[in-house]
Symmetry: C2
């Protein structure tokens, strides 16, 4: 059966996250599988590179699925985009090798997190940024961010109650960029992410920026492997899964 690779863009505001759920909440996976069923007549399970939480956006979520269809990828993409709701679209579709799997084949992911650091809130940005009115020490945050780059046990930045085999991950990049637009963008790239890891990392760095935590304490935080030592989980609406690497 032909294997397909899709790239999805979605506005997370209207979804209870990626994963299909019992109980009828609106999810990206359900919306996408329903569209595939309407186009091909097949109800199947698709695999994503990973779950995104409720409210989190994606510019480049990757999904794989084996679909019995004669449609070439471009026609399948057009047909799906015609049916999909306005907050979800297939930005690319292609045939993939038989052994390609959106989750198991992924070797890395890039996220961005947007902060509006200004005394005044911004109505035109409100839906996609985390507003931080207090002044932030950006050089201090950038310096503190370096502690997270490399291979570490990120148990302290994992959502409480998560159960995974290993909490060791490698981050290739944690950088803070001041955009010309005035927004502060946290770029975080790594080989894998624990639940809430980016949002907890940003929440912790924002406390450094506000002078509530020292740059040096980051290493201790990681060593503690204790979620209670980290900062608050920053809001989902400012987080976007930008790209998945294979």
């Amino acid at each position: 059966m032909p294997n397909f690779r899709f790239t999805l863009e979605y506005d997370g505001a209207g979804f209870a996250g990626w994963q299909a759920q019992a109980g009828g909440q609106r999810t990206v996976q359900d919306a996408f599988e329903t569209a595939i069923e309407r186009v091909t007549g097949q109800r199947l399970r698709v695999a994503a590179s990973g779950r995104t939480d409720a409210g989190v956006h994606a510019l480049g979520q990757v999904v794989s699925a084996q679909i019995e269809t004669e449609l070439p990828p471009a026609a399948l993409q057009r047909a799906l985009n015609h049916i999909l709701p306005s907050d979800l679209a297939v930005s690319s579709a292609e045939r993939a090798a038989d052994d390609f799997h959106a989750r198991y084949s992924a070797v890395g992911k890039l996220y961005c997190y947007r902060v509006w650091n200004d005394p005044t809130r911004s109505p035109l940005r409100a839906a996609r940024v985390h507003w931080v009115p207090r002044e932030l020490d950006i050089p201090a945050m950038s310096k503190a961010a370096e502690a997270f780059v490399g291979r570490h046990d990120f148990a302290a930045l994992q959502a409480a109650g998560s159960e995974v085999e290993s909490t060791v991950r490698t981050l290739a990049r944690v950088e803070i960029e001041q955009e010309a637009s005035g927004e502060l963008v946290f770029w975080v790239e790594g080989d894998g992410f624990l639940r809430h890891m980016v949002r907890n990392l940003v929440g912790t760095l924002l406390e450094v920026g506000a002078g509530q935590r020292s740059i040096e304490s980051m290493a201790e935080l990681l060593a503690s492997e204790d979620r209670r030592q980290a900062g608050p989980t920053a809001p989902a609406r400012a987080l976007t899964l930008v790209r998945v690497f294979y």
Copy 2:
């Protein structure tokens, strides 16, 4: 009575335009005047640089008002922002000269209009762009845009049924920029604008880009002074009043 100058930012999606209306539609003017009343106890009329239509956004709408208050501008701004709904904020507040009037003192305005020119729609941009899937000839549009720069009678680009004394306006700039983000931005700056003028201008240029109109026909269009000769009114959601000049 002290005269104040406010700069407002708003997401136009939830407003039936700037102007207060009989019949209880939600408008920016009403929301702002209500907030002033709650802060100062005075129900007054404020003056904006001009009306924005339903769905049109503002990054820098300017408003003037004479308010009997002892509050310094920064305190007034904070109090208003505390009360205003999430889609409207005061981005700056200052004392103005007694003769400053947001509308009569204005000497120019800058608008931007965003187009997403891609075969695939973009869910993360959908609320703020006009999606044009067909291929556009950008150099042709830029060339055609030059015909609108300068002093002209813009009657052909005015909303049907409008009544104004003169339809002559001077445009200082009509430029099309391809942003790194992939969006196509139309920048239009002039000393004044007729109703729907920017949206009709963009709708006309998009027809040039699609090869449905010639570059040369722009001069004839202006000379016709006939709204029916221009292109369709491009959607409001992609238009933002960026700045007002004084």
